[in-house]
């Protein structure tokens, strides 16, 4: 088993080191790092903008680049949190608590330096986990019939919608909406059109890119336009010299870093608990076992490295269910799966054996990409810090252009540009009503496959719905679903949601529909 994994990895490095692949990987992490630093642009919007550009590329290069954006953004997000106290990206919100006080004490450089180091350690652990766990998962998953696949998807969807931020019931509603949106267009089995209202452009279904850019691009811009606080650049003078930690710092950071890594990798194994939850759990754990918990929040290095290591380990670990089972854990992973499907690759347990170049190439590129990111972040820190000062009034109009041209380029059709505007408006209404739109994307990507497997399972069982509890593996998944729902109701009735939720809400701000939530300030009323 181990031998097989290592030979796979060796092969993967061969793929990832091909000149064009290494170039795309570099482009991905560079763009990712950039949008991670920029307040107001998230990895989701960026990946959706880049998605149409990858249509002409080979699948390996495309997925390496889009994956690179995802983990590259995590490095950039930390800079924003530590130097500006802006939690531009939810996973890094908790880093602000101790990161910014360190900056105020003039130790921001050290915090950044150790963050980069901890991130690399966390990521490496996540990658190792992926190398050895994915083949095992695949082995199990290859035994699954349609009924098992169906209940596994159900579990993934439920976990993705209830464990994420916000009210669980609203999350489930968004997932159902996403599943429905996925059914728009021509029905694959009967060929009849559904919910197209006579528009032939909708025959192929709603465009994934239009949906993602509407929900995470336009709706997000509407949410944050004129609401972004001017950026305080008082503390942003960091040079490479300041980043070198002392021996004492290293010593203090060592164990928290590993604890964070472990917490992150455990979180990534539970579907639906992405990096955000991982970082909060890691911070809470670290505070609990610390001998001086009262000092947290005053600029402790432990409070910076632990959540950061956890985030990165979880980001890499999130790829495990996505690549080995075809079940994405969050919206970003759903988008990456969508990118694979556009390239004509069927996600699922057969992916590793049918497309080893994609899987092992991706794994190897993670390491290459993370090393690139360390190299990008340490010497070039000054450039990233300068990018923080780009005002939002330049940012969002330019992004609007990329949204429009991106959606247009997907099909060379103006219809989709109108679609993105409508979805954007709808998405903003949902945001205002307290819905988090991420589960929509999850449901949308899984919807058609869920329907297909559901129909097949029903056909095989001759219309017996009990098949889902009669088959043992499927029954386990159904039981887990029931436990998930039961525990949510239990916590609801007890008045407390999951115990990490209050902490999360405190930091990110009461209602955090958007990545920008915490930096929204009352704009001065227009005269």
């Amino acid at each position: 088993m181990i031998e097989q994994a290592l030979s796979g990895l060796w092969y993967g490095f061969g793929v990832a080191f091909e000149p064009h692949n290494i170039m795309w990987c570099f482009v991905g992490v560079l763009v990712g790092n950039m949008v991670g630093v920029l307040p107001g642009m998230g990895p989701l919007a960026t990946i959706s903008i880049l998605l149409p550009l990858t249509f002409g590329m080979k699948p390996v290069g495309a997925i390496l680049m889009l994956g690179g954006v995802m983990y590259g953004a995590q490095y950039g997000g930390a800079i924003c949190s530590i130097l500006l106290n802006l939690p531009c990206h939810p996973p890094h919100a908790v880093t602000c608590l101790d990161g910014f006080p360190m900056t105020k004490q003039g130790r921001g450089g050290v915090a950044l330096g150790l963050t980069v180091f901890a991130s690399f350690v966390g990521a490496s652990w996540g990658i190792t986990e992926m190398i050895f766990l994915s083949p095992l998962l695949v082995k199990a998953a290859l035994q699954f019939g349609p009924a098992e696949v169906c209940s596994l998807m159900l579990l993934g969807l439920l976990a993705g919608s209830t464990l994420a931020r916000g009210s669980p019931i609203k999350g489930v509603a968004m997932t159902v909406l996403g599943l429905f949106l996925g059914s728009v267009g021509t029905d694959l089995e009967t060929g009849s059109e559904r919910y197209t209202f006579g528009m032939t452009e909708l025959d192929d279904g709603i465009e994934l890119i239009a949906l993602a850019l509407g929900l995470f691009g336009i709706a997000e811009f509407m949410n944050s336009v004129n609401q972004v606080a001017p950026i305080n650049t008082k503390y942003t003078n960091v040079s490479i010299k300041d980043m070198r930690p002392t021996k004492a710092d290293m010593k203090r950071a060592f164990f928290p870093m590993w604890r964070g890594t472990i917490v992150g990798s455990l979180c990534s194994l539970i579907p639906g608990t992405g990096p955000t939850i991982a970082s909060f759990v890691a911070y809470a754990t670290e505070k609990k076992i610390s001998r001086h918990p009262e000092k947290f929040g005053t600029g402790l290095i432990e409070g910076v490295v632990c959540p950061e290591a956890s985030t990165h380990s979880s980001v890499q670990g999130d790829f495990i269910p996505t690549m080995s089972l075809g079940i994405p854990g969050d919206a970003v992973m759903a988008l990456l799966l969508g990118a694979l499907m556009i390239q004509g690759i069927v996600p699922g347990p057969q992916l590793i054996s049918q497309h080893p170049d994609i899987f092992w190439g991706l794994v190897a590129s993670f390491w290459i990409g993370n090393i690139m990111l360390v190299l990008l972040n340490v010497p070039l820190i000054g450039i990233w810090v300068k990018m923080l000062a780009i005002p939002y009034r330049y940012l969002y109009p330019s992004a609007m252009f990329f949204v429009c041209i991106g959606v247009y380029a997907a099909n060379n059709d103006f219809f989709q540009v109108g679609e993105v505007a409508v979805i954007g408006l709808f998405g903003y209404v949902l945001l205002r009503l307290g819905f988090h739109p991420a589960p929509i994307l999850l449901g949308f990507v899984l919807g058609p496959r869920f329907e297909e497997n559901f129909r097949r399972a029903m056909l095989i069982s001759r219309g017996d719905i009990l098949v889902f509890v009669e088959r043992p593996i499927s029954a386990v998944f159904v039981a887990l679903c029931a436990i998930l729902i039961g525990s949510q109701i239990y916590f609801r009735l007890r008045g407390a949601k999951a115990d990490l939720e209050p902490a999360a809400e405190n930091v990110v701000g009461g209602e955090a529909p958007a990545s920008l939530a915490a930096q929204r300030v009352p704009a001065t009323p227009a005269e």
Binding site: V176, S183, E189, M222, V225, R393, Y394, I405, M458, G463
Partner: protein, 166 residues
Amino acid sequence: MRFSTSLRELIGKRDFYAGGLMLLLGLGIALKGTTYRAGTLMHMGPGFLPTALGVLLMLLGIAIAGASLAPGPDEHGGDQSLLPEHPQWWAWFCILMSPIAFIFFGRYFGMAPGTFACVFIAALGDKTASWKGTIILASVVTVFGVSLFSYFLQVPMPILTWRGEF
């Protein structure tokens, strides 16, 4: 008297509208879904799953609205208004008009005018926008965008064109 205050409280809750919207959406989906063939469990027709999802969405909508009736603060706390504290009607209008402008100018005049109009209109939404700054931004993005997408990525959209017929 008591009834009217509780009614006002109810109407004032954001979750009430959230649930209501889901209920309406679910109703629409389910009603439209019944016009497609449902089939049997064993041989499902195209209407089966969407109709089921519509009904499920209705139930979830009722649950969300119902939960908002419970006394005490919900996740929004004091903020129950549907609009944000400082509604940005003009900015929202600009952002939504920006793709429309892209469609119109892109279709009839080509990529460069489309890009310019798209960025220009979106940028007008910012409170601090000045005419000069907006024009400069739109021009820069146009030059950069057209060279990237038209020359480098070969998006088949004419840079400049004139289609007389409207």
